[in-house]
């Protein structure tokens, strides 16, 4: 029996219902199914509320979903990093303030300093600005990590202090003035009609994405057969592949069916000597650049967490810090690296946030840390450490953002209602998660 190459005992099919068998064979994460289900429930709920009680549903429209995707980018980028911080039993309360500070530094750099030397609109401006912002964020994060790991100050305190310090510093950078407008190329990183890749580009992204999904599933299957482990049934493999590619291509369809607003089309047509009347032109947004940045971050972070030693050590430290240290893992240096990565992602989020506003203000990212932490936690990251996923954090961000957007669309746009709903959702999500974990034990 020792080398029985099966993961789950066979012959127990009779006891399992069709749903349980589907989950077992496809090896889909039941938690993920639950989270996606909750997300869809929120989406359809708000849409149907609009259909029945307002003049038509407005949630499940290309326009709203496109905006939702852009609004998710800033929090989502940081939530992927917060997952690592929380898995290793730390917390980072300073990310919102790091966004504010790095955003201000980038604003001053690209508006007041670089044009003096390079000339306004020089193509290097946005590149230098982005690099400086990301490196600065990483340095601040590394400093917090160093204080936590090598000076043994609890991360809660270090980053609580950091939250105040960097918010104050953000004000001092330009004495509280708003820096505007940012470099025009830099602004594209925040989205908008010009900051999206259009219909053709989106199809390319979709098709390449599908090819990668299929290739990865094929290679996974080959690795399993190489060692004689059980493979998923072919129908399950096909279903998962079809689902993944279907979702991706469906997303392409949605973002491509959201056209540029007529005003933008008119000026675009005028600028490019297009003779077709603007009313007949249908120019798709396609994927917004910040959404592609988020997707890239999510993919890289997922690879980092599941396929590299670094990710394995993050989980090991979260599961048993002592065991990790005894296994020869340099847990202190790991903590510095994790906080540096969190800071780096905060710098990147600051790029997207300030580009989206086309200006830098010292209030940029205010209270964002709370939404970032809430996203990671709603996405299943355990504050007890050791458990969490990148995709969970992104779904968590989508849940929070969907609740906020949905409240606005059905007429509860007042900020106080939104805060109440998000707060309740956070506590409820964690409670459901606790129930779920108890049940699978």
């Amino acid at each position: 029996m020792t080398d029985t190459p099966t993961h789950a005992p066979q012959g127990s099919d009779a006891k399992l219902g069709p749903v349980a068998r589907f989950v077992r064979d496809t090896e889909l994460d039941t938690r993920m199914i639950g989270m996606v289900g909750a997300l869809l429930l929120i989406w359809f709920g708000f849409h149907l509320y609009g259909v029945f009680f307002k003049d038509g549903g407005s949630f499940l429209t290309a326009r709203n979903l496109w905006n939702l995707s852009v609004q998710t980018a800033v929090t989502g980028i940081m939530a992927t990093g917060m997952v690592l911080v929380i898995i290793t039993r730390n917390i980072d309360l300073s990310v919102g303030s790091i966004v504010g500070f790095t955003g201000m530094i980038m604003g001053v750099l690209q508006v007041n300093i670089l044009p003096q030397y390079l000339g306004l609109g020089h193509p290097l401006i946005w590149i230098i600005t982005v690099i400086v912002g990301i490196v600065l964020g990483a340095c601040i994060g590394a400093f917090h990590g160093w204080l936590t790991a090598y000076r043994a100050i609890p991360s809660f305190i270090v980053t609580l202090g950091g939250m105040l310090v960097w918010r104050g510093a953000a004000f001092l950078v330009a004495d509280g003035k708003t820096i505007s407008p940012v470099d025009s190329t830099f602004a594209l990183l925040g989205g908008g009609p010009y900051g999206a890749i259009g219909s053709t580009g989106s199809w390319i992204v979709g098709v390449v994405g599908c090819a990668v999904i299929l290739l990865m599933m094929y290679r996974g299957r080959k690795a399993r057969s190489k060692h004689g482990f059980s493979k998923r049934p072919v129908w399950a493999e096909t279903t998962v592949a079809a689902l993944a590619c279907g979702v991706l291509l469906g997303t392409v369809l949605v973002v491509n069916s959201y056209p540029w607003p007529i005003g933008i089309v008119k000026s675009y047509a005028a600028a490019n000597n297009i003779t077709t009347p603007p009313e007949e032109l249908f120019i798709s947004h396609g994927f917004a650049i910040p959404v592609l940045i988020l997707a890239g971050v999510a993919i890289l972070m997922t690879i980092l967490m599941t396929r590299t030693r670094f990710g394995r050590y993050v989980f090991a430290i979260g599961g048993n810090p002592e065991a990790a240290a005894l296994s020869g893992i340099d847990t202190k240096w790991m903590t510095v690296k994790i906080f540096a990565l969190m800071g780096l992602l905060s710098g990147l989020a600051a790029v997207v946030a300030s580009a989206r506003l086309t200006s830098a203000t010292n209030a940029l990212g205010d209270l964002e840390e709370l939404y970032v932490i809430a996203s990671a936690v709603i996405g299943g990251t355990s504050l007890a450490g050791g458990v969490g996923t990148i995709y969970g954090a992104i779904i968590g961000t989508l849940v929070i953002q969907s609740l906020q957007t949905g409240m606005v669309l059905i007429g509860f746009g007042d900020g106080s209602y939104r805060k109440i709903v998000v707060g309740v959702a956070l506590v409820l999500a964690v409670y459901l998660d606790i129930l779920y974990r108890k049940k699978i034990k």
């Binding site: 993961h7 190489k226 030693r309 989980f315 979260g318 065991a323 020869g328 893992i329």
Partner: protein
């Protein structure tokens, strides 16, 4: 016993103090290939602390460690591994949220092209070694938190055995186990001994010591009471050393 020749391990005059309290006070011990040396003493006698200097978890304040007659510098667990010293800790030192293969290879993962983890290869290796150590083990794809005490212990032992340990430190390896699993560990110790490994066994159970060990070192209040050849003394002699610090005439 074949106590001639170069010892596998020699710890000379080791001292370590925590906040003014001398946890280990000028203690010397040695270990030969194919030998099991028991370390005995009350809780707080300093046996675990002493042995952690060898496994790299602590750094001794004073004293020297020789491996195969050559002076060794061990300042962290990675250094210890370089000398093929493997430790099975009392607390098992497993990450509960990871599966058996991830724990077995923790810190020494198999990586494939591009430095990415090769989980399938690690699982395959884990299946091989577990088939040898604990043929009933089948829970390869669940976190080790879902395993029984014996199963967890076999993962911990597999980790030490897999990487060709020459020097094995076992800190109460059977403390959390049932009778059958304890027997399994005992057989394994005999097997490893035959292969020429040197084993330090920290143990409270005097009968286990009499059964498994060749020599026993007794410690009390951070100091070494004495070392005896287990074959030459009785249970009472050893108990007397542990409780009263009384050194029988056979001891050195």
């Amino acid at each position: 016993m074949a106590n001639n020749g170069t010892p596998l391990v020699e710890m000379r005059d080791i001292s370590i103090a925590f906040g003014g309290i001398k946890a280990v006070d000028h203690v010397s011990i040695d270990l030969h290939p194919g030998e099991v040396v028991g370390l005995l003493g009350h809780n707080g006698a300093g046996k675990s602390t002493l042995i952690k200097c060898l496994s790299g978890a602590y750094k001794a304040d004073a004293g020297e460690i020789y491996i195969n007659g050559a002076k060794a510098e061990i300042s962290n667990p990675r250094d210890a591994r370089e000398y093929n010293i493997e430790t099975i800790y009392q607390t098992l030192a497993l990450a509960d949220n990871l599966n058996a293969a991830s724990n077995l290879f923790l810190g020494r993962e198999i990586v494939g092209a591009g430095g990415f983890l090769d989980d399938s290869a690690m699982e395959a290796e884990t299946r091989k070694i577990m088939a040898r150590l604990n043929p009933n083990f089948r829970k390869f794809n669940v976190p080790v938190s879902a395993l029984s005490g014996g199963q967890r212990q076999s993962v911990a032992i597999a980790r030490a055995v897999y990487f060709n340990a020459k020097i094995l430190i076992m800190d109460e390896p059977t403390a959390a186990l049932g009778p059958q699993e304890t027997q399994m560990v005992a057989e394994l110790i005999q097997e490893l001994k035959k292969q020429g490994l040197g084993i330090f066994l920290i143990e409270h159970d005097i009968h286990a010591v009499m059964d498994l060990c060749d020599r026993a070192v007794v410690m009390k209040n951070g100091q070494r009471v004495g070392t005896v050849n287990v074959g030459e003394v009785t249970d009472e002699d050893i108990l007397g050393m542990i409780i009263m610090g009384k050194k029988p005439p056979q001891a050195v």
